[in-house]
Symmetry: D2
Subunit: 148 residues, 4 copies
């Protein structure tokens, strides 16, 4: 109940999924699709993103590595901020807390990113990462971005 | 969508709200109602709690202090764990991350505590604290308990 | 090596231990000594504080409760910020992450608070709480304050 | 003072820097040197590591990206655990909290990893990442590993 209720009006969306993906492809010219992921949908206060990790993302045991999950959570948070404030490349992560909840098996990763608070100087977001079952996330992040 | 979907069956509830409140009153004989709060409802994977803070909980500006909010979040997490594992007093907090989202004005505080993962050794929970609007929480906590 | 090296010049200290304790006694008129603690020493980038918890601070097992430790860490962080920016009551905690490391046995608690970064809008601090052995802290906190 | 004082005897070191680097090269066969880093020195309770990031690690503004820093902190924590418990590939990150303190300019990154507590089931570590000045870290992490 808490997650989706941030009262951000629909007029608040400044970049849709296509615009966000185009912006990030330009902002990170050296990254490859399997390391960055892309935005799937955008609604006020919430985006969904997807990552199809490549083989470099594996850790011992054949699981998706922690840094891959954390990088994806950070990307989802960045996209959620930009969706609401527009194409401001210099928004920067101020803090990221990641809880590893379950083994992350290979396959597509999904991120559900919800805005907890969008202030003038800081945005705080809740990110859940899941693979086969949205109700059993593999990880949960709390991400704070500083807005220039 | 993520919060309520933890697949914990209803048979998993071992202590209801009354039993939890009785247990905590006995476990913390020196605490007073205005500093501890009480459990309002219990369903699989989720509890709601309420705190009516006394005047000692105020900080400069007439707001509810941070430690009051964090202590309440910790109590809600403790109650959520005990609701699922039974009256094990020695479950202990392993980590608590608290994000202060909005000014916390005087009045009753509510906590929504959701289980993210209940393992054999660790329980990880998401706690949202709110006052007048559940959709605009004043704080969000991620709490990990070690299970003995 | 990392902890003490924040290059804050000695001229940066605006409030010493006595001034900090007087300020906090006035800012929190309803709190009692056993729940708040006091500042012992102040040097650039670092303060030490002490708390003699009363019986209300105990949790099952006869240990010092988590909220008592977190509240003390928050107080130490508040004092460390004020020592450097002066008596600005409305500096507020933005985030507090606490790791419980070892059982916290009854007796005086000490806090070592180090400034990691003092910016114009945010201060980030490392706080270690210990009882009988400074080299074996009972808890470690990372605290962020927003500066008005 | 707090950082270096964890009383872990020198007999506790089970893998030195060379052994750790060989182990990780085998454990992460798909990673490249510029994304993983290597261990420089090992003493009881502490390791130092170094990363020479490649161009993929850059983010807008020409700075080293957040995921690069977090991945490096996670690697340093993994190496610090393995140095003390031996070559147990399945030690897994349980939680990682990262505070971004200062802009991270291109060039070699260094990590100072200190053990806060090494228990039977959980290891908690403090990691500082720096570039040109160890006293002014660009980031600070608190990392928890679950030990199988």
């Amino acid at each position: 109940m808490m997650g989706e209720a941030v009262p951000i009006s629909s007029s608040a969306i400044r970049l849709d999924a296509d615009a966000l993906n185009a912006f990030m492809a330009e902002a990170f010219p050296h990254s490859v699709p399997g390391s960055r992921g892309h935005v799937v949908s955008v609604v006020p206060g919430h985006i969904q993103a997807r990552l199809d990790p490549d083989v470099k993302a594996l850790r011992p045991g054949g699981l998706i590595s922690g840094p891959t999950q954390m990088g994806f959570a950070d990307m989802a948070a960045y996209a959620l901020v930009l969706a609401h404030i527009g194409p401001v490349a210099m928004a920067v992560t101020s803090a990221l807390n990641y809880q590893f909840l379950r083994p992350c098996r290979p396959g597509p990763l999904f991120a559900e990113a919800h805005m907890l608070r969008l202030g003038k100087r800081l945005a705080v977001m809740d990110i859940r990462i899941w693979t086969d079952n949205a109700g059993r996330p593999v990880g949960q992040a709390n991400v704070t971005y500083a807005i220039p």
